[in-house]
């Protein structure tokens, strides 16, 4: 298996700043906006963005929730190995809010589909947007597209996109793995 670096830590930093600025453009002071990171991997990106907005761009308060979608997936009992759930940490209602769903890689779109269903348990949002770091644009199974994207990748199905974070792998990077 070979591995190619798609984004290094510098690239990722630039992209995070751009995404933060794009969010501010649409959501101003975030008074009616909440960020929802998808567990487990989208939560790192969501935390980074929320820190960036608060520390570098002087947004006073960013409401951040982490959503686990395990119980909403459409492949329960269809996978070879069962998936373990992670925790959901949303201590607010999203009724009437602008929600931004955040995940690291958009692939088939099924996780986002599950997240849309899961969010219904927390109220009726005004609207929902999608932010992803990597958009694998030729591999969608569902009509779901991101509103904010870090980088678009034309990877084929046999290739795997791997995102690592400082928090987990001591390095911010995005790789493409070839079989």
């Amino acid at each position: 298996m070979s591995k190619k670096t798609l984004l290094n830590s510098k690239d990722i930093e630039i992209i995070l700043h751009r995404l933060a600025c794009q969010l501010i453009e649409n959501h101003n002071d975030f008074s009616n906006t909440v960020l929802i990171g998808l567990q487990p991997r989208g939560s790192y990106l969501a935390n980074r963005l929320s820190d960036l907005l608060k520390n570098k761009y002087q947004v006073k308060e960013v409401q951040l929730g982490l959503l686990d979608i395990t119980f909403y997936r459409d492949d329960f009992r269809r996978r070879e190995a069962p998936i373990e759930a992670t925790s959901t940490e949303i201590d607010f209602l999203i009724e009437g809010k602008n929600v931004v769903i955040i995940d690291d890689v958009l692939y088939s779109g099924r996780s986002v589909r599950a997240a849309l269903t899961a969010l219904q348990s927390y109220g009726r949002p005004e609207n929902i947007e999608l932010l992803v770091l990597i958009d694998r644009r030729f591999s969608r199974h569902l009509p779901i597209q991101p509103d904010y994207r870090g980088r678009q990748v034309d990877a084929i199905n046999e290739e795997k996109v791997l995102v690592t974070w400082n928090e987990t792998h001591k390095k911010d990077a995005v790789y493409i793995e070839f079989k």
Binding site: D68, T70, F71, Y72, R73, F76, R77, A81, P82, I83, E84, A85, S87, T88, L93, T117, A118, Q120, S121, Y122, G123
Partner: protein, 309 residues
């Protein structure tokens, strides 16, 4: 580990400690779910569950039914009182008829010991034992341990006292297995006539003096006197039972420490426990009921994971 080592939940004695850890970890997630404004997840949309209650039950049946509905399973209910069992149908025939309607999981309570094991050998569905005679009641023991873990941080090393009618109690036996598996110490206390003869062979100690027993423990799980299972008199009078083994505020106040009070319900207020104690801050009786739903959701979810199509 993310899969149970068993195919059915027939009793705690078939489980490993890793199974209990997995059930509790999963229950933590479901406890969060049932405290949301919308307390439901769609995981089990294509699973059908039959609740077969050949013996009376209110809270266990309700708790299972709510757990099943919170997971979006289809539920059918059956109570022996209004069925063909009265007309002489056998257990296997009853269950096979229900399975012919394409049921994936059977939750069963039955008066006979081993009914769940018997059924699991003869029908093709996941079986959850919701109480078989005086034998086991695994989900009750799981929710009891889960509640202790929630209140005291862990079960390991804790001293748990089971007070009351041990002889007729499936809750007692399942609790003994579950607590020991997790590294807790267990003592039983009650009238000698209501303590099974060979209970010490399970590694359980016996104490017939309630005050001494309470002084020893961190948690007291108080059981109901099961008049309906008694064909002879095991103690002279309810009044005498209450005086010797009833838990009241006065006896708790005399202890050097605070202990956690549990009761699997239904409570005979003023017999094994006074209202004052049952409703006090030390009592976690209603937490047990809430946790029961989360724990049963976890058990059902984990078994449903193994259903093949």
């Amino acid at each position: 580990m993310s899969e149970l080592s068993v195919e059915h939940l027939l009793g705690i004695k078939y489980l490993k400690s890793t199974d209990i850890d997995l059930i509790f970890k999963t229950a933590d997630h479901f406890k969060e779910v049932i405290n949301r404004p919308i307390k439901k997840v769609p995981s089990l949309r294509d699973i059908t569950i039959a609740n077969l209650f050949f013996e009376n039950s209110t809270r266990t049946k309700l708790s299972f039914e709510i757990a099943e509905k919170r997971l979006s399973a289809d539920v059918i209910n059956f109570s022996a009182g209004q069925s063909s069992v009265k007309k002489g149908e056998t257990l296997i025939d009853t269950v096979n008829n229900i399975l012919a309607m394409k049921v994936d999981i059977v939750v069963m309570r039955h008066g006979n010991v081993g009914a769940g094991v018997f059924l699991s050998n003869h029908v093709d569905a996941k079986i959850i034992n919701a109480g078989d005679g005086t034998h086991e009641h695994p989900t009750q023991a799981l929710l009891d341990s889960y509640s202790i873990r929630e209140k005291l941080g862990s079960v390991k090393g804790k001293k748990v006292l089971i007070v009351g009618d041990i002889l007729h109690s499936r809750v007692a036996l399942s609790n003994i297995f579950a607590l020991q598996l997790q590294g807790a110490e267990v003592k039983v206390c009650g009238p000698t006539t209501l303590i099974p003869k060979y209970i010490s062979s399970l590694g359980v100690t016996i104490e017939t003096n309630l005050k001494k027993a309470l002084e020893w423990c961190d948690v007291a799980n108080v059981l109901r006197v099961q008049h309906e299972r008694m064909d002879i008199n095991y103690f002279p009078s309810t009044r005498e039972y209450k005086q010797l083994f009833g838990i009241n505020q006065e006896i708790l106040d005399k202890l050097n420490k605070k202990i956690v009070i549990m009761h699997p319900g239904p409570i005979n207020r003023g017999v094994e426990i006074t209202s004052e104690v049952a409703d006090s801050n030390e009592s976690i009786i209603l937490d047990q009921v809430e946790n029961g739903v989360a724990v049963r959701m976890a058990v059902i979810y984990l078994l449903a994971q193994q259903v093949k199509r």
